[in-house]
Amino acid sequence: MIVSIIESLRDNMKRTIGICVAVIVLVALWGSFMVDTHHAHTAAEKVPFFWAFFGLAGAIVLIALARFLGFLGIMTREDYYDD
């Protein structure tokens, strides 16, 4: 059953991506305009799409930092310590 569900999602990739995009847009709109923000901890959080931007930018910064470490030579061949 698990395999058939996954294969159905993969076979209809455009539909799957469409559903994902729709969910993401709905989450961003709901979270920014329909949720009471008086529980927000800081003023910045009351800006619409703050957490969406934080998630996107934060993830990009983390990925960039990780790749930068690789660029610095932190990532090396697997047998590095075997010599």
Binding site: I2, V3, I6, R10, C20, V23, I24, V27, A28, W30, G31, S32, V35, D36, T37, H39, A40, H41, T42, E45, F49, W51, A52, F53, F54, G55, L56, G58, A59, I60, V61, L62, I63, L65, A66, R67, L69, G70, G73, I74, M75, T76, R77, E78, Y80, Y81
Partner: protein, 592 residues
């Protein structure tokens, strides 16, 4: 003793010692029975102080049972059942014994009331768990195990130095409780150092990804649960509110995520994620408020279950497919569908998605950060949440179960869902991950402090869903940058590995050279003249002293030789010669 109290660690230790005697079909029941009895013993405990023993001048406390020790004791013994179930197929008794001794060490620390008992069980943990690395029996296991035990010995020495110094300063106080975190002295710093080595705080963390990735399949499931969370327990007990822990925890949370993003080995990736998640707990302890300590305990509880689940999932891949390198996997959902679902549940729990355990635990720590105006820490931990979702929620599922199939023919043919016991253990852990996420009262009622906290507010849901949704968008946009490569990442262990090699080089090259020079000099200046003098005296002895003595001897010998010809040894001949001589003498006397 105040009254009869059975230490749960003792059940595991005796159970482990008896295990080799249990054979046949009873063995599996026994294997499950011992941790089950341990769990029930913890469950049946009531608060109080037990197991107080007078030893020389010291009063040792083995059983301090309060709300803080109970929640940790509960989850540790529960995880022992799940871990043993996962490893039920393991035939080597010693691996089970090592795992149980390890858990016993952890339970001993959790229920101890003084530093001496703490240190005893602290070392039991380290020395039992190293066998879980060695039992992998891989080409790197021995060296990894030695690095692991060396680092933990170092941490243990910091702890020992700290509490001995404290004993001196306080005039004989060995009790383990909350330290003066606002005015720490050298003893406090040393004890803290000992604790944070086990918590895998940066820069003392390298033992964790090093050992967890190299441990045996079952060993890693135990290791990921106990050492760091026991360290969180002792930090919560002794260092609640020590603010230096906040930046330490934040660095751990982000450092672990960043290293996880460039990791190829799935078990090592989750080891990095462990560093990151323990960072949250360290921040919680550093903040030190009731909400923050509750958050640290709740997150430790949830983390033990979902981290165990993740290591069981990736361990199953290692056990069945033979590798956890993402560059050698892909598309496994067809071959290991159930393992995929269990690992995904673990991934969504660690990422803190609603309805999963991480959502209700880590949010307490972040909320405490905002509440106490540690805004930077709170935002940094939220950022680490997004990174965790990238790692465990997307990267691992994508590159192991979906994505390009990089499996070799052998890997693909071997890959299948693991034996029933491994699946059952994952199912139990998955159940708890969802149960905790859905029914918060189960976990919250066990927390040390009464706190009114509701994670399922609309604002918190909106915040989390936006965060993970757009982290997912970032992954989609930059997925090529996250494609695993067959590499390892250099880390802090580089320094001590290189120091070790440098030391070996200095030893084999420089010290060996100096040793050879000294040996040569000794040979020419010492041994050679000595031999010459000895040769002279030997010659002198032979030719001078022995010449005189031997000359006499040789003269006597030569004379003897000459005389010997006269001596035939025959009686008649001797009488004949003597009679002839006597006759000749008489003739001469008569006629001359």
């Amino acid at each position: 003793m105040t009254n009869f109290w059975l230490h749960p660690a003792l059940i595991l230790i005796i159970g482990g010692l008896v295990l080799p005697l249990i054979k046949g079909p009873l063995r599996k029941f026994y294997l499950l029975g011992v941790p089950l009895v341990t769990f029930l013993t913890v469950l049946g405990m009531s608060k109080g102080t037990y197991g107080v023993v007078q030893f020389i001048d010291w009063q040792l406390t083995f059983g301090r049972v309060d709300s803080l020790s109970l929640i940790f004791g509960y989850i540790m013994s529960l995880m022992c059942i799940i871990g043993t179930l996962f490893g039920l197929h393991v035939k080597e008794d010693v691996e089970h014994i090592a795992a149980w001794f390890y858990v016993a060490g952890s339970l001993g620390v959790i229920f101890c009331g003084d530093y001496l008992v703490l240190f005893l069980f602290w070392e039991l943990m380290a020395f039992a768990s190293v066998f879980l690395v060695w039992f992998r029996r891989g080409p790197k296991s021995i060296a990894t195990g030695y690095r692991y035990i060396l680092i933990h010995t170092l941490g243990g020495l910091f702890l020992l130095a700290g509490f001995v110094l404290r004993y001196q300063i306080t005039g004989g106080d060995l009790s383990f409780g909350l330290m003066d975190v606002h005015h720490p002295d050298l003893a406090t710093w040393l004890i803290l150092l000992g604790f944070i080595v086990n918590a895998a705080a940066i820069p003392f963390h390298s033992w964790l990804p090093d050992a967890y990735a190299e441990a045996s399949v079952t060993g890693a499931v135990f290791m990921c649960a106990f050492t760091t969370k026991t360290a969180i327990y002792v930090l919560a007990r002794g260092f609640a509110g020590m603010e230096i822990l906040i930046p330490i925890g934040v660095v751990m949370a982000l450092y672990g995520v960043i290293y996880g993003l460039i990791e190829n080995d799935a078990r090592r990736l989750f080891a990095w994620d462990t560093v990151s998640q323990v960072g949250y707990m360290v921040v919680g302890v550093g903040i030190g408020s009731k909400l923050a300590i509750n958050g640290a305990c709740a997150h430790a509880f949830a983390h033990i279950l979902y981290n165990g689940l993740l290591f069981m999932g990736t361990g199953s891949v290692l056990y069945m497919a033979g590798t956890t390198k993402m560059t050698e996997l892909g598309g496994l959902y067809k071959k290991m569908p159930r393992t995929f679902v269990y690992t995904l549940i673990g991934g969504l729990s660690i990422a803190g998605l609603p309805l999963f355990s991480g959502f209700v635990s880590k949010s307490m720590i972040i909320a405490a950060g905002f509440e106490h105006h540690h805004l930077f820490a709170a935002f940094a931990l939220t950022l680490a949440s997004a990174g965790t979702f990238l790692l465990a929620g997307i990267k691992v599922p994508y590159f192991i179960w979906f994505g390009q199939n990089n499996c070799s023919k052998e890997t693909w043919e071997k890959a299948a869902d693991p034996p029933w016991n491994m699946q059952a253990a994952m199912a139990v852990a998955s159940f708890f991950c969802i149960f905790i996420g859905c029914y918060t009262a189960y976990l919250y009622d066990m927390l040390p402090f009464q706190v009114d906290f509701h994670p399922y507010s609309a604002y918190h849901l909106a915040e989390t869903l936006q965060l993970v949704a757009f982290a997912g968008v970032a992954f989609y946009l930059l997925r090529k940058l996250l494609k695993p490569t067959p590499t390892i990442s250099l880390d802090m262990d580089w320094f001590y590995r290189m120091f070790g090699r440098g030391f070996l080089w200095v030893d084999t090259k420089i010290f060996q050279f100096i040793d050879n020079c000294v040996a040569e000099i000794y040979r020419y200046l010492g041994l050679f003249p000595l031999m010459k003098i000895a040769q002279f005296w030997s010659w002198f002895d032979w030719n001078a002293i022995d010449g005189v003595v031997d000359g006499l001897a040789r003269s006597v010998k030569a004379l003897g030789g000459k005389v010997r010809v006269l001596q035939s040894g025959h009686m008649q001949y001797n009488i004949f010669v003597a009679a002839s001589l006597a006759a000749a003498a008489i003739v001469i006397f008569m006629f001359v």
